[in-house]
């Protein structure tokens, strides 16, 4: 069993009075209007809601890719709002894994190199992560595609590589922004099985934004957003 740094904590993610306002030209638009919820370590949470409800904005705030206008996001007890940019970068590399709808692999790197990218950028010795790489390649079932570049892979395969890349540092939290949004049903199902396996095997906290009722139900809990407000939790 893999130990997580947040095993002893009550909340892996804690969101308090979270607000986010964008400027549409000169007009301020409040996307998130004050959210409060918690996510426990090892929990698999799905965030749903109609377009423009603020799902992705919430995910980017959880992923330290954006800053809130008001309120706080606490990850393993650390307030993201009070962290310096450098600390956030280290956090993104080591404690968070992010998977995007459009895979976002680096096109001129191979599968192996894409998975190792966070290690390359972090400056850690690549050799030390060879075993982890092999493990992830085995989990995503792409040992025979390790030297392929993204353009030679299907959408499903690319998204698996994106998941493996997000897991190379064995992060506490895996954030997924509509991971099946660009995949067919077979690939979507296969990917979701992989994510569930990861959640179970590694006790990784998973937060996914999805439009799919079916795949949202694969998580432990669903958070519904509407007009920037939490409507219900199921």
């Amino acid at each position: 069993m893999i130990q997580k740094t947040n095993d002893h904590l009550e909340h892996c993610i804690k969101v308090e009075g979270l607000k986010k306002t964008f400027l549409n030209g000169t007009v301020p638009v409040e996307v998130l209007k004050g959210l409060d919820f918690t996510i426990a370590p090892g929990e698999f949470v799905s965030i749903m809601g109609p377009s423009g409800s603020g799902k992705s904005t919430l995910l980017y705030l959880l992923g330290a890719l954006d800053t809130s206008s008001e309120g706080a996001v606490l990850l393993n007890g650390k307030n993201l709002g009070s962290m310096k940019a450098r600390e956030k970068r280290v956090l993104r590399r080591r404690e968070l894994g992010f998977v995007f709808q459009f895979y976002n692999l680096v096109p001129n790197l191979t599968v192996e190199e894409n998975i190792l990218l966070p290690i390359i950028l972090d400056g850690k010795p690549i050799k030390k992560y060879k075993k982890r790489l092999e493990e992830l390649l085995h989990i995503i079932g792409m040992e025979d595609r390790r030297t392929h570049t993204p353009k030679k892979l299907s959408g499903g395969q690319q998204q698996r590589v994106a998941v493996a890349r997000a897991l190379i540092f064995n992060p506490d939290v895996l954030l997924l922004d509509e991971p099946t949004g660009n995949l067919d049903s077979t690939n979507s199902e296969s990917l979701m099985k992989l994510i569930v396996d990861i959640n179970r095997t590694f006790k990784t906290t998973v937060v996914q934004v999805t439009h799919s009722d079916k795949f949202a139900a694969w998580g432990h809990r669903i958070i519904h957003l509407e007009d920037g407000l939490l409507q219900k939790q199921a």
Binding site: L65, N104, L121, P125, R165
Partner: protein, 675 residues
């Protein structure tokens, strides 16, 4: 001093070093005085050596014929020979046109890149137009019209800037500006029209490929920026490049005489070949290095990988390669010129040279030579006279060089007068009554002459028939295009009165030359030591080098703008990749290191390409030089290139700095959201 007396004259004006003052040096120079003053002093009022007049008939030729038919005692000749003037400036003009090719190439690649950027940035708009029913032709017409407008605006600005720079150069470049003498600024208005037409045409031709490609893909692929792989096309480009480069190399080395005739084409083929081959060489090289470097030099390895896979960055290498080739051309040409001139003077046996001697009678010349023979400091047997005179052969411009065939071969080891049968070509020239001539290979080629040909040589209006008894490669000797004839023939048959004298001394040449200048001044003679003559020659060649260097610098500066443009294109194309890196925790320093690394790798790789190609290019420059009748052995020197290469690295690296500030505005979320 003239007529044996010293005259005190007031200087009332100083003329620039041109026209009748062209040959002036600090030891010997021309002064203009009223004719009446000289005539009065000499007691020859009403007499003239030369009378200058404008033509009275429709053409100069008919006017001269009319004058010469009416006057038996006087002979009219053209004041200057247009062919000679054209021949004198043709080297400079050809050399500048040659360098213009590089500027045009660099600019073409840049405009191509700019239009690629325009198309890249607007692909969604183009896709939307197409999805709403616009035809590919409509899109292309719109973009072509844009290129036309860019041509007009760019041409207008360029012309205005060009005229401004010319005015500035004319004003500040006038050699006697300190004396308040500035050359009048001259500019032909028709050039504005030509420049504008060139600008528009050039912009449209350079935009041809990006405009054509803008609407070639499927509409969905244009909107989503999905690119199809063209592996086969890539192989074809490598194969074509290899054929062009190896073909020009085979012709250049195996068939050098044919290569000279095709030299400009061979050079273009070789450069295009290099530009087509290097991406494939880089592909192999970076593929080999990337995995090995990645654990140790991570950002460098990523930069190299980016350059390998980004067509825009490869375009960057192309721009730098072309600009650097122009530098190789100029540096090789300049250093070779200096080396050739130095070698030539080293191989000539003389210490002192007297030129511009205007002694129009046998007695004066005899006295002059006797003065030299009587001087114990001068090696008597080394005294040699030569002269050069313009004329014509069968209506074509020709230069006759009068030499002493007994001394000339010994005088210069620079020209090899021994023919393939082992005979000295100068021997037949000794028989003055036979009127034999040895001609330069350039002359033979230009006039279609061969050994055995008979030519009617018209010098000073006196036509005599000469037999071509030899053809010799004179390399860079004088005008490189001449008839060697016995000096005696020129003197006696054609009444050539001026000349030059070369001789050796067993004393210090500088002291003797200064002393002799006083004596030769009365004959208009200018005395120079060998070192002075060599330095003047080198300086004359340096002027050409400086002009070429200015063009080369121009190519580098334009190239650096192109490099920045390509970096922007490449960045726009890879914005999402940088956003991915940002989302994975890359910091600004790492991103900047990647971008600077890309820039540095481009310039270093481009330099590597140029270094490898340099030796062959220098050979081609030599063959192009021969093609424009400036035959010389051009060599490539890495050490001479080094400062220029280092400067290029600095310039191109600095050119990427504006990009670094632009990347600060990268919006990770926006980039990641979009497909």
């Amino acid at each position: 001093m003239f007529a044996g007396e010293t005259h005190k004259l007031d200087i009332v004006g100083i003329a620039s070093n041109q026209g009748v003052f062209y040959g002036d040096t600090n030891r010997g120079f021309e002064v203009v005085v009223p004719h009446e003053y000289v005539a009065g002093t000499l007691g020859v009022e009403g007499l003239y050596n030369h009378v200058v007049a404008v033509k009275s008939g429709d053409t100069l030729e008919t006017s001269l014929n009319h004058f010469n038919e009416a006057n038996q005692e006087y002979r009219g000749i053209p004041l200057y020979n247009e062919d000679l003037v054209a021949s004198m400036v043709s080297q400079q003009v050809n050399a500048l046109l040659f360098m213009l090719v590089f500027i045009v190439l660099v600019s073409g690649v840049i405009i191509y890149g700019a239009f690629k950027l325009i198309v890249t940035e607007r692909r969604r708009v183009i896709g939307t137009f197409l999805s709403q029913g616009a035809t590919k032709g409509t899109i292309r017409r719109i973009l072509f019209l844009e290129s036309f407008v860019y041509g007009v605006i760019g041409g207008g600005l360029g012309i205005a800037l060009g005229i401004g720079i010319l005015y500035f150069l004319n004003d500040y470049g006038s050699p006697l500006r300190a004396y308040g003498m500035v050359e009048p600024f001259r500019f032909e208005g028709i050039l504005i029209l030509y420049a504008m037409l060139f600008s528009i045409g050039f912009a449209m031709v350079s935009a041809l490929f990006p405009v054509y490609r803008s609407a070639r893909r499927e509409v969905k692929n244009i909107i989503l920026d999905i690119r199809e792989a063209h592996k086969r096309k890539r192989f074809v480009s490598f194969a074509v490049g290899l054929v062009l480069l190896s073909g020009s190399a085979i012709l250049s080395y195996a068939y050098p005489s044919m290569a000279v005739n095709l030299a400009p084409l061979l050079m273009m083929a070789a450069i295009v070949g290099v530009l087509m081959i290097y991406p494939h060489v880089m592909n192999v090289l970076v593929s080999l290095l990337f995995r090995r470097l990645l654990p140790y030099l991570r950002m460098t390895a990523l930069s190299m990988q980016n350059v390998r896979t980004s067509s825009a960055l490869r375009g960057n290498i192309s721009v730098i390669v072309i600009a650097a080739i122009s530098v190789v051309t100029v540096v090789s040409l300049s250093s070779s010129m200096v080396r050739i001139v130095t070698d030539a003077f080293d191989s000539m046996r003389f210490d002192i040279y007297v030129s511009n001697i205007q002694a129009n009678d046998f007695e004066s010349r005899s006295a002059m030579l006797q003065r030299l023979r009587d001087d114990e400091r001068i090696v008597s047997k080394s005294i040699m006279e030569t002269t050069m005179e313009e004329g014509s052969v069968n209506g074509e411009f020709a230069v006759a060089e009068g030499i002493d065939p007994a001394l000339f071969d010994d005088f210069t080891a620079y020209i090899d007068f021994i023919n393939k049968d082992g005979d000295n070509m100068l021997e037949p020239l000794k028989a003055t009554e036979e009127r034999n001539t040895v001609i330069a290979t350039t002359t033979a080629k230009r006039l279609g002459l061969d050994v055995g040909s008979a030519v009617d040589l018209d010098i000073n209006g006196i036509v005599k028939t000469y037999n071509v008894t030899g053809i010799v490669d004179v390399r860079l000797w004088n005008t490189r295009d001449m008839f060697f004839v016995n000096l005696q023939n020129l003197r006696e048959d054609h009444h050539v009165d001026h000349g030059r004298i070369y001789f050796d001394t067993n004393e210090d040449p500088d002291t003797l030359a200064s002393e002799l200048q006083d004596y030769f001044r009365r004959f208009g003679g200018i005395v120079q030591t060998r070192d002075e003559t060599r330095d003047i020659n080198i300086e004359n060649n340096h002027q050409l080098s400086r002009m070429l260097s200015a063009f080369s610098l121009f190519a580098i500066v334009i190239g650096s703008f192109g490099a920045l443009n390509n970096m922007f294109i490449s960045y726009l194309q890879r914005k999402r990749d940088f956003a991915v890196l940002e989302s994975l925790g890359t910091h600004k320093g790492q991103r900047n290191r990647i971008l600077l690394g890309e820039s540095l790798f481009c310039v270093v790789f481009a330099m590597l390409v140029v270094m490898l190609y340099g030796t062959f290019h220098a050979r081609l420059v030599g063959q192009v030089a021969s093609f424009i009748l400036l035959p010389m052995d051009i060599r490539f020197s890495f050490m001479e290139m080094l400062p220029f290469l280092l400067a290029s690295i600095v310039i191109y690296t600095f050119a990427t700095l504006p990009l670094l500030s632009k990347t600060k505005k990268l919006n990770v979320i926006e980039e990641m959201k979009m497909e």
